[in-house]
Subunit: 717 residues, 2 copies
């Protein structure tokens, strides 16, 4: 057995002292206090919802005993060091029950969660720490949840992060360096969401023994009983996916049973699913019904509950001394964990100085600046036409090969997305032997996510959320399938997580796969989404710029959007230009028109300018890979690029025009879905060949001479 000071599978020590009692022993010793603790907690939740007559009381009340088991007996965390690196991670995937977590953060001694703050739930207080769903910005919250199912996938990512870091850094005698467990609380709803089902399947495949899902099985959703929509045998389903399953029959009161299940889960070498039967809104008059889910119980019923519990019906927010006592000592216990871990790291650095320094940097979230040298310089890029998806690989592969911060993966498109590097090792359970002979281990940093785009991006959020900057996840798929993943990509942007999405096969230029695969309107979403960079580079040099922007964006996800087909290298393109969002590619002081070109079609636009020149029409060309980066530039720069004072501006991009109206007076864009044709034929079919484009642009110049008001309207050509 490992020494008690190593935080892997050993019993929890109670506080900083060396005396250890098993959680089971501690539960037994405390058992006479549980009744008052649970009653106090449940009434507290009822009061907090009643205060502003809203919120979600039922789930939190039903889960009270689970919370006691977790926060008091099982989870290893440090309330006064909320970001302690080796802490257990807790994810509340059923985020609407956030009061559950907020109340335990308060009771266990998180400093920010004062009693006053706890009471801010549903208030008008703009600095409240108790929003309607948990938010990563706040102490003790690992990931923002709310959209159902996301948290499950985040938890898979968090558990993968632990496995990867442990396999990379842990050494004999230092099993406690990275050894935390991830606990994910879910409700009935999460088990219905596809993103969770995808992640569950993958977690079973990866045999993530350090992951536990705790299922608040109350059989109630908004519409009524779960059997309105679900008749499956969930335990069998989880077993079929490679999970251990433990049942807890009395989840409302049996703290000892829950603790036993949780401890067993921590020791399992498979992910564990604990199916805990609870009663939503226990002991209220709406107990066990959908009415307990999303509304306060009403003042009189809250008073009745108090009377039934032997509390004063007139008093609110009562937390008695014995309950305060019950939760006291947890910050000290937490500091014990922190000190133990610090000692382990110190000793590790002595024994393994190089690894130790590397580990410290990872913990600090410091990415080696070597990445800048690893990106090919302008002169080093091949001159031959290159698909920008291949150029993407040229940029990130050498970095991913050398720098362990990068965990790169794909939704089953390895042959298409160019994200592998020589000698890449797959992230896999080390015992796995695959049919195709490609094996791996947990230190591997290439992840086969399967055909699970949504889970891929939600898991990537979990990898990034493990600790800021420790892991920079890169996902990859066809751009169109980032619509499947959009809810997760959005959550990454909302949480300010650095996740890089290598999205290939953008535009109709992808060809034969047809309109189901040709993204006409998707860029519009990502250009409108706050805090995400959508970048469409036009050639290899611009692709370098896109990756530089992505790696520099420490608090922002990026989509590097690339072509399936080969693109010529365009004279004058500039990675620095990409970093400014847009820049002048062809200046012309006599220009009457400024053409905006983007990504795979930038070379078409350069061709149009040349053809216009032959026909006596002077044009400028602006390369415009990223709206968001451009918006961040000073107005003088922006005006200098666009020159709207002196030219008409026309954008050319086979996407929906929406939003280009900000920068252009007219556009050749897509008004319909695409068409299945070879790439060049698809461009021609929709008029994106140079000849047709040139005619359209000339036509526009004619039109605005005839109708002055067109200058104030965006004209689709």
């Amino acid at each position: 057995m490992a020494p008690a000071t190593i935080l892997d599978t050993t019993p929890v020590s109670n506080g900083a002292s060396k005396a250890t009692s098993s959680p089971a022993q501690l539960v037994k010793a405390d058992s006479n206090k549980h009744d008052i603790v649970l009653k106090t907690f449940r009434l507290l939740i009822a009061d907090l919802c009643q205060q502003f007559n809203g919120g979600h009381p039922g789930g939190a009340i039903g889960m009270a005993a689970i919370g006691v088991a977790l926060w008091k007996y099982v989870m290893r965390y440090a309330p006064h060091n909320p970001t302690f690196f080796n802490r257990d991670r807790f994810v509340l995937s059923n985020g609407h029950t956030c009061l559950f977590q907020y109340a335990f953060l308060h009771l266990t001694g998180y400093k920010a969660m004062t009693f006053d703050q706890l009471k801010s739930y549903h208030s008008e207080r703009v600095d409240a720490l108790c929003p309607g769903h948990p938010e990563i910005e706040h102490e003790g919250i690992e990931v923002t949840t709310g959209p159902l199912g996301q948290g499950v996938a985040n938890a898979v990512g968090l558990a993968m992060a632990t496995k990867n870091l442990a396999a990379t850094y842990n050494r004999p005698g230092f099993e406690g360096l990275v050894s935390n467990h991830t606990w994910c609380m879910i409700g009935d709803a999460c088990l219905q969401e596809g993103v969770a089902l995808e992640a569950i399947s993958l977690a079973g495949h990866f045999r993530l023994g350090n992951l536990t899902i705790i299922y608040d099985n109350n059989q109630i959703t908004c519409d009524g009983s779960v059997d309105l929509t679900n008749s499956e045998n969930v335990n069998d389903k989880m077993r079929a996916c490679g999970w251990e399953v433990i049942d807890v029959e009395d989840g409302c009161f049996d703290i000892a049973g829950i603790v036993e299940a949780l401890e067993k889960a921590r020791r399992s070498d498979r992910p564990t699913f604990i199916n805990v039967r609870t009663v939503i809104g226990l002991d209220s008059k709406v107990a066990g019904t959908a009415d307990a889910h999303g509304a306060a119980f009403g003042a009189s019923e809250v008073a009745n509950m108090k009377s039934r519990y032997g509390f004063d019906p007139e008093e609110k927010f009562v937390i008695g001394d014995e309950v305060r006592d019950f939760f006291s000592g947890l910050p000290e216990r937490g500091e014990g964990y922190v000190e133990e871990w610090n000692r382990i790291v110190d000793r590790y650095e002595e024994v393994h100085p190089e690894l130790g320094a590397n580990f410290r940097a990872r913990v600090a979230g410091k990415l080696s600046e070597r990445w800048r040298d690893l990106i090919p310089k302008a002169g080093e890029l091949p001159e031959a036409p290159t698909a920008s998806r291949a150029a993407s690989g040229m940029m990130i592969n050498p970095i991913a090969k050398e720098l362990e911060s990068f965990v790169v993966g794909t939704a089953d498109l390895s042959p298409s997305v160019h994200m592998t590097w020589p000698g890449k090792v797959d992230f896999q359970h080390p015992d796995l032997k695959t049919g195709c002979g490609i094996n791996g281990n947990y230190s591997g940093r290439y992840v086969h996510y399967g055909i699970r785009e949504h889970a891929m991006c939600a898991i990537a959020n979990g990898l990034a959320a493990y600790s800021p900057g420790t892991i920079i996840p890169v996902t990859s798929s066809f751009f169109m399938f980032y619509l499947y993943a959009a809810p997760a990509v959005r959550m990454g942007a909302l949480q300010r997580l650095q996740v890089i999405h290598a999205a290939t096969h953008d535009s109709i230029g992808l060809g034969e796969d047809g309109p189901t695969h040709q993204p006409i309107e998707l860029a519009t979403l990502y250009r409108a989404m706050p805090n995400i960079l959508y970048i469409r580079p036009g050639d290899s040099e611009e692709t370098a710029g896109a990756w530089i922007a992505a790696i520099e964006a420490k608090e922002t996800p990026t989509i590097v959007s690339t072509s399936r087909h080969k693109l010529p290298q365009i004279k004058g393109t500039s990675r620095d230009g990409v970093l400014r969002g847009a820049y002048v590619l062809r200046e012309n002081d006599n220009a009457v028109i400024t053409l905006l070109g983007v990504g795979a079609e930038l070379s078409h636009v350069v061709g149009v300018a040349e053809k216009l020149a032959q026909e006596g029409v002077e044009a400028r060309v602006v390369s415009f890979p990223s709206w968001r980066l451009f918006e961040q530039q000073p107005i003088e720069y922006r005006r200098g690029v666009l020159r709207r004072d002196r030219t008409s501006t026309v954008v050319i991009e086979p996407y929906a025009a929406n939003g280009w109206e900000r920068y252009a007076d007219a556009g050749v864009c897509m008004k319909t879905f695409g068409h299945s044709l070879p790439g060049t034929a698809a461009y021609k079919y929709f008029g994106f060949d140079v000849d047709t484009l040139t005619e359209r642009v000339k036509g526009y110049l004619g039109k605005i001479k005839e109708d002055e008001l067109l200058r104030r309207e965006f004209v689709e050509l």
Copy 2:
């Protein structure tokens, strides 16, 4: 046993004659022909991919025997009457194997799929019937597939349509009126996608015995063997979800075994999962590997395959007479089905004249014009402030109650979305007894989809695709969760399916649920997506207009986007105005500014105009519920509404501005995600209260006086 003329569970008659042989007997009689048929088919696929050196040969080749079993022996369809109402539906969820379907459509005698057309796969022919993925526009294709997993959910919808129509119209002796089966072909990938997993769970719950999934289990995906990403026991998983499971060990050759499994599946009272082991790219040198998936085999290898099969390596696209003979007679058999069914319908009309007329109308896709009378008139609407989600219910509930064309459902938000009506019956298996006591039967038209937004919308596509206009599905959820469903909503738009999405809780006005639930950028996606109406009504009268537009849009999905909170009834709003997309709500000939207001914030904008007037600034107000409808108006109308020649235009909407630049010079919009606060407080926090808005608009008028160029730029206030 039912008479042989009723197409429910009886053996297939071979042709129009009354002599019947069971499929098993037919297979046995044919067995000496199978070898040449399979070889011919496989070489045909190899040739079709080799022709333009691209495409997906491996899956189609592996599935050849499954195809023979389906099209020759088991499926009931009519090549010369491809839209025959009671035909079995076939869905190719692994749509990239489309050649599989195209080749069988050709061989079985679909008129449009000539040999010439078959050879158009991957060609530059713009009128090709062989796009890279199957498209609903073409004969014999039930739904467009390609994005993986969608087809599974579509198939669930198709099977639900049959169940619903059968329960509504079939009567004793007329079991063959609506009795078709749905067959869904899938690959390894579909089983990993969340949308499929959601739909599978729901199909098991509904016990859709008329649905069969045929799993092309070749254990290969793009990245290599499936065990790179998946270790689950799929049969156990399907059983846990309530499916029958049948294994077929030799799926490459054992046509008899496949037929037996398919026939068993047709008779099952549960959905059936047939796990068929196949070899991708069988008999090519890349057989059983990922290389067989997405690339032609190379000319020499195709020649080698031919030599090995005893074919002339120099000859291409060979379909010998014996193979032609093998597939002959299928159109005649199909006409037999059609004639039998026509006789059933004729007899049914005699016995059940009222039902019969009703059924005929449904088959013809005719919606009773009574819906117009059922929508409340302007004078009938409550004058009290009303949440537009509640107004949505007022419009659609009376229609859904009366008109059986409507199948309304929700992703577990019945209490929130107002889509139920008095006496509504749930769509459920009649034997189901739920915990909450709400039961139903298959004639029910209210669907509890569970917390499965993505599957809900993909299933709705299947309901709509069953036969044009026969069913108009209505889905419902919070607007934000139409991001989860977006890939399916997109497929509905691409397929020109009339599906109506009742999306509630739009805008930051939803309040406490916070930024995870507040849709800032999602409308931008749907406003850019081709062929979909996104409509944000501003009060009850406008909500009537939104529903009228949605019901009139026979080939276009609609999102009716409504508020959580109560909205005042605004003087002058007009349902007819909504149908034009935007209209003048407050005219003012002296106006210097036109304010564009939308949806839940329209009343704020009216308030701003009033306040501006008090301060001596004359303003017009335009209500602007739908861009797409507005774009369909003549330019004179559009110019008359916007008056950009005489006023500055400012839009006010707490969404990302992207795209408003087309109609406005400036905007008060959202640049960040939202914030968890009570609705009114959230509006104030972001400056969307009337006072702050008024100041911002006045500020803009000041700014443009100082900087003329701002008039050419969109200004975010």
